[in-house]
Amino acid sequence: MSQSTYTRRRFLKTGSTVTGGLLLSFFIPASAKRLGEKAGSNSTFVPNAYLNITPDNNVKIMLAHVEMGQGVWTTLPMLIAEELDCDWNKVIVEHAGPGEPYKHTAYGLQITGGSTSTWSEFDRYRQAGATAKAMLLEAAAKQFNVPVSSCRAEKGFVIAGDKRASYGELAEAAGKLTVPTNVTLKDKKDWLLLGKPTKRLDAKAKSNGAAQFGMDVHFPGMLIAVVAHAPVFGATPQSFDATAAKAITGVRDVVKIPTGVAVIADHFWAAKKGRDALKITWNMGPGENFSTASQFDSYRKLAETKGTPAAQAGNVTDALAKTTKQIKAEYIFPYLAHAPMEPLNCTVKVSGNSCEIWTGTQMPGVDQATAASILGLKPEQVKLNILFLGGGFGRRATPTSDFVSEAVQVAKASGKFIKLVWSREDDIRGGYYRPAFLHAVQIGIGENGLPAAWKHTLVGQSIVAGTPFQGMIKNGIDPTSAEGVMDSPYLESIPDHAIELHSPKAPPTVLWWRSVGHTHTAFVMETLIDELATAAGKDPVAYRRDLLKSKRHLGVLELVADKSGWNKPLPAGRFRGIAVHESFGSYVSQVAEISLDNGHLKVHRVVCAIDCGLAVNPEGVRAQMESGIIYGLTAVLYGEISLNNGRVQQRNFHDYKILRMNETPQIEVYIADSTEKMGGAGEPGVPPLAPAIANALFAATGKRVRKLPLQAADLMKA
C-alpha cells in the first residue's frame, strides 16, 4: 500500500471508520487498546495514541501536528521509527483528529505553529516508539521462551539467536501486555535515522495528484458554497436580493450567515456565478472610513506618546542627551496576506446530533469546539478530519476558527452538506493579515562607536488581544508584537534602553504570519546595526562581533561569513548584505548578494547558516530555509495589502505578487553541527532575509530602506 494517507479511494472507503476508531482511542486507557476492533481487526497492536501495528507489519503513525509543507509528515514518524526500530518502508502516516493525547506538549492546545512541532514532540514521540518496542520485545521473549535481554529489535523484527518474528506476527500478543511506564531511550550514538537526511514520506503522493487536500474532498450529494463577503471589515449583510442568483442553473440555495451571503450550488462555477449575481445591502459600520495611508499618520503620532514598557534599562532620556551622534529612524511595514496556494475551504455535514468536518487546519481542537458551540453540540459530537494543508504560514491557525465557523454557519443555515470554497479574492481580501507596524527609533552613539542609548517605540495591532490567546499578553505587552526587539541580544550591550509598545485597534483582522513579530523587528534591528557599523566605519560582521555576546548568534554569523566569502571581493556591480537573527529558538544568519541594473534588483545568491540544535531531518531543515528565504523575498519585493475607504486594494496574484522561478536566487544552506537546545525550522529562515537585502541595497545605493516593500526609489543610487 502507498505510504501516502488519503488516496481518494481509501479516503472515501475508510475515512470515517478510521477516524471513528481514532476518536474512540482518546477515551480509553491505552492498556485497553481496542482501536483495532473498530478498524475491523482485533489483532492490531495499539500501545498508545501515536501508533499502531497491524498483522501485515504496517506501522501506522498518528500525527498530533499537521503537514502544511514543513515536513512533520516525515520528521515525527522518524522519532517513533528510531525508537521502534521498525521498517521505515512500512510506515503509514495519518493526521490525528482532535483529542487529548494530541495536545501540544508546551501549549496545552492542539495546534501546529510557532515552529515547535519537532522539538515539542521529540520526547513524546520517541517515548511512544520505545514503549511499543519494549512490548514487542517482551511478547517475543515469551514466544521464544527466552529472557527479554537476549532479544533485539531490527527493522521490524525481533531476533533472538536463530529465532525471528516480525512485528506484525507479534502484534496481537504484544497488545495483551501491560504498557510499561518506564522505558529507556536510545543513546544518540545509536541513532539510525535521527540527524540523517531523510526523504519525505509525502513526496510520492504529492507528485501524482493523489495527495488529498481539503479542497479535494468530494462526496456524492455534497454541494459547493461560495460566500459573498463584506466589502469592508466589520460590515454585516442587511438585506439581499437573490432572484438573479437563483435563476442560474446549478444554484440550489442562497442563505444569509453572519459573515455574508452564501450561494450554494452543484459546483464552484455555478456558485461563483450566483455570487456575482447577488444584490446585497450592507451595514457598513466604521470600517468604511479606514485607509492605510492615514493609519500610518495616526501611528506616527502615537509613537510620539508614552507607550507600554516592554524592556527597559538605565535612563534612556539622559543617556540620549549625553550623546552627540544620533540616528533617528522611522520604519513602516504594511499588512501582509499569507496567500497559501490552496484557498481556504471546509466541508461540513450536519446530521441530527452530530457533525462531521473535513478541512486543513492548524488548530483542530479550537475548530472542533467552535463548530460544536455554533451547532449547540458537545465537542465530541463533532468529528473533524484533517487533510493535507496546501500551505498554512499561520493563516490556517485562526483563534476565531474563521473559515471553519463560516462553513458550519452555511451548513446550519441551509441544512445542506456543503464544501465552503473561498476564491483567491476572498483570501487576499479576507483579512487575518500580518499587522501593519510602525517603528520609531532613536539611537545615541557612544564615543566607541557602539550604541549607548536606544529608544524604540513600536505601534501595531495586537494579534492575540480579544482572542482565546489573550493570556499571552503580560504586563500589557503582546510578545508577538515586540519579539525580536524587546529580547534583542544587542540590548545587553546597551546600558540605557527603553522599548515601548502601542497596540491600537484597527478594522482589519490580524494574525500570525510566518515568523510573526520577527517579520518586522528583525528588519529594524538588523538594518540599524548595519547603519551603526557604517557610522563607526566598521565592517558589519566585525561590528556585530563587538556587540554580540551570544555564542549561537556568533556561531552562525561566522559560519555564514565564511561560506559566503564575506572577506573576499565581489565582482564589479555586485553588492552584499548580512543579517543575523534568532527566532523560535533557532539562530539564522544570511548573506544576500545583489546587483542593480537600471532600477531593477536582481538577487543572485543567498547564503544561509542555521543553528537549530539537533536537526532531526537535515534535509527538512534545508528545505525550510530555502522556503523561508523565498517567502521573505516575496515580502521584500512585493508584499503589501493596502486599504482605501475600508476596501482592500489588492485581489489576486496579479496585484498581490508572489516571487516566481525567474526571480529566485541561488540558495546555499549550512546547518551548524550543534548540540544546543533544539529550535524550530519552519519560520526562522524568514526574518534575516529582508534586512540582508536592505543592507546589500545600502552597499549598492548608499540609501537606507525604511519601508517595505521596496519602492522604486530604493533601487536608484543616492
Partner: protein
C-alpha cells in the same frame, strides 16, 4: 447548458455544462479529477495547468466550449505510479513541500521537456515562471527539471 464529449487521459467523458464553465471546474467538480488545482482563477498561478494536445494551458481560463476534440492530459494521465521521469526527478530532488501547486508545476515541466529535451536555466525560467509556489520550492524544481532531462538521456533504470 450544452453537451460535450471530452478526451481526457486517453478516455472519453460526456458532460453537460455551461459553455463558459472553465475546464478546471469541469475536471474537478464534474469529473472528480482533483489532481488539477484551483489557485487563482485568472491564469496567474499555474496550479490548474493541464495539457491540450501536449501544450501546457491554464484550465481555469479555458472555457469548456473552446476545448473541442483536443486531447486533454491531466496529472492523473502523466502516471499514477510516479513512473514518469519528471515525477521520479521530483521525488529524487524532494521538491514538494505543501504540494498543492506541484501537479501544475509537473505539468508545465513535462510540456517543457517535451519540446526542449535540454533546457537551460533561462529556458526553465521562461517555461516555469507562470507557476507560483508559495512554499518556494523553485530551486528544487529547477534541479529536478535538469535531472529529468539527464534521466531522459539514460536508459530507464529504477534509481530509488
Amino acid at each position: 447548458m450544452a453537451s460535450y464529449k471530452l478526451s481526457i487521459n486517453g478516455g472519453s467523458y460526456a458532460v453537460e455544462a455551461d459553455p463558459k464553465m472553465p475546464l478546471l471546474w469541469v475536471l474537478r467538480d464534474l469529473l472528480n479529477l482533483t489532481g488539477t488545482k484551483y489557485g487563482c482563477g485568472m491564469a496567474q498561478c499555474g496550479a490548474c495547468t493541464v495539457h491540450l494536445n501536449g501544450n501546457a494551458i491554464r484550465s481555469c481560463s479555458m472555457p469548456i466550449s473552446a476545448v473541442g476534440n483536443q486531447k486533454i492530459t491531466t496529472i492523473e494521465g502523466i502516471s499514477s505510479d510516479n513512473s514518469h521521469v519528471v515525477q521520479q526527478a521530483w521525488i529524487a530532488e524532494q521538491v514538494p513541500q505543501c504540494g498543492y501547486c506541484q501537479t501544475g508545476q509537473i505539468m508545465s515541466a513535462v510540456a517543457l521537456l517535451k519540446r526542449n529535451a535540454n533546457p537551460t536555466d533561462r529556458d526553465i525560467d521562461m517555461a516555469m515562471q507562470g507557476n507560483i509556489c508559495r512554499c518556494g520550492t523553485y530551486p528544487r524544481i529547477r534541479k529536478a527539471i535538469h535531472k529529468a532531462a539527464a534521466m531522459m538521456k539514460q536508459p530507464p533504470a529504477k534509481s530509488f
